[in-house]
Amino acid sequence: MILLSHADLSIAAAMVIMLALLSLRLQAGISRQLLVAALRTAVQLTLIGLVLKTLFANVHLGWISLMALFMLLVAGREVMARQERRFSGWWGYSIGTVSMFLSSFTVTVFALVVILGDSPWYAPQYAIPLLGMLLGNTMSGIAIALDRLTQSAWQQRGVIEARLILGARSGDAIADPRRQAIRSGLIPIINAMAAAGVVSLPGMMTGQILAGAPPVEAVKYQILIMFLIAAGTGLGTMSAVIIGSRRLFDDRQRLCLDRLRENQ
């Protein structure tokens, strides 16, 4: 593996700065955001590099759990922030976080124990990257699906109530928004699987190849990850949409859109 020097990274950074200058000239109004995001990438990844280094040096389930919890809580915040209309109060945060916990953690632990079978099963070299990839993808799926659910429930409130009025159960009245939400949460991973290797070379596989792994072995890992992501995203999306669509009704199955609030 070719090791990168600070100078190598500086050259890449110069390209981003050039892009920012160009967008400034074109008055695209995005240069500031671009630079802040690039800076965040550098700082956040450097920090995580140091954290992983420490974690690898002191393999302990407690430290890894703490790290996993931190990742989960940040992902939960991110899901909430991406909603145009989110559930008010504690629900806005917990629906996404609980669903991510149920799906990502279950799938990751299952893969670590049953499929990879390293000892200890929580070896950070596998556990943290796996959980990270699963959380990242599940987070996107859940965020898209919940956003779609609350938006469609809002837009289709007339239809939902019309169906309630005619004697439909709440689950039947919200069936269309629920189906649309689950579909939109799952479409990104379905597209990614369909295009993998043909249109795009997945990042993890590319990374392993860059690090010197034999391509066929890297491909096997990538297939594993894709399937785990599909399972995790599907599980997380469905549980978030099911919890969310129940929360849209009260105990008398009335549509309660006052439980949503607009994100500023």
């Binding site: 289709q156 239809v159 109530e161 019309a162 009025i165 005619l166 004697g167 009260d250 199955q253 549509l255």
Partner: protein, 189 residues
């Protein structure tokens, strides 16, 4: 905000409610249909709403909101069990069931929504200005269909109407909702 009020309607009886906009007429009907939370108590044949599953309650206490909503491409899809009366009795064309919903006029949709509600055979009809978009001939047809349904099924009807002539025509007990209170105005006043 509705004040404390009490209203009893017998089976087969029709009650008309009028009153200024914003007095809470629609709000009252929505509360009876159990669509909005409220502190009151609603009974049907002596049974409180809270003792009946909400979807059963709403199937029996049928609300016709001022605006109709449709979720399937054609009108006919919303009538899995057929129509309770021929569409022609409401002045609707025979082929209306095959028409895409978005091509229907608001008056046609209003009459179809009435048919859709009657197909449920509710014991109570809560009608929120059911003839607001209709011309006089179709208004009369709708009144006839509703009255026949009320008499044959001994349904109780609460009818919001702004038209004193309609209230007189229907021969209902007339009430006025204003300042959060219901006032009796006699029959067909």
């Amino acid at each position: 905000m509705l004040g404390p009020l009490s209203l009893g309607v017998d089976a087969g009886e029709c009650v008309c409610i009028s009153g200024p906009s914003g007095a809470g007429k629609s709000q009252l009907l929505r509360a009876i249909a159990d669509l909005d939370p409220h502190d009151g108590e609603v009974l049907l044949g002596g049974q409180p709403a809270s003792s009946i599953k909400p979807y059963r309650w709403r199937a029996r206490v049928g609300l016709l909101p001022p605006e109709s909503h449709w979720w399937l491409p054609t009108a006919g899809g919303h009538f899995p069990g057929g129509t309770p009366v021929a569409p022609a009795e409401l002045g609707l064309p025979e082929d209306i069931m095959d028409q895409p919903v978005e091509r229907l006029s608001s008056g046609e949709k209003q009459r179809l929504a009435l048919l859709r509600l009657l197909a449920n055979r509710p014991q109570v009809l809560l009608l929120d200005e059911p003839t607001a978009n209709l011309d006089p001939a179709n208004t009369e047809r709708a009144e006839r269909v509703i009255n026949r349904f009320r008499e044959s099924g001994s349904a109780a009807v609460i009818w919001i109407s702004h038209d004193p002539a309609q209230v007189a025509r229907l021969g209902c007990r007339a009430l006025r909702l204003a300042d959060g209170r219901l006032q009796e105005q006699g029959v067909g006043a």
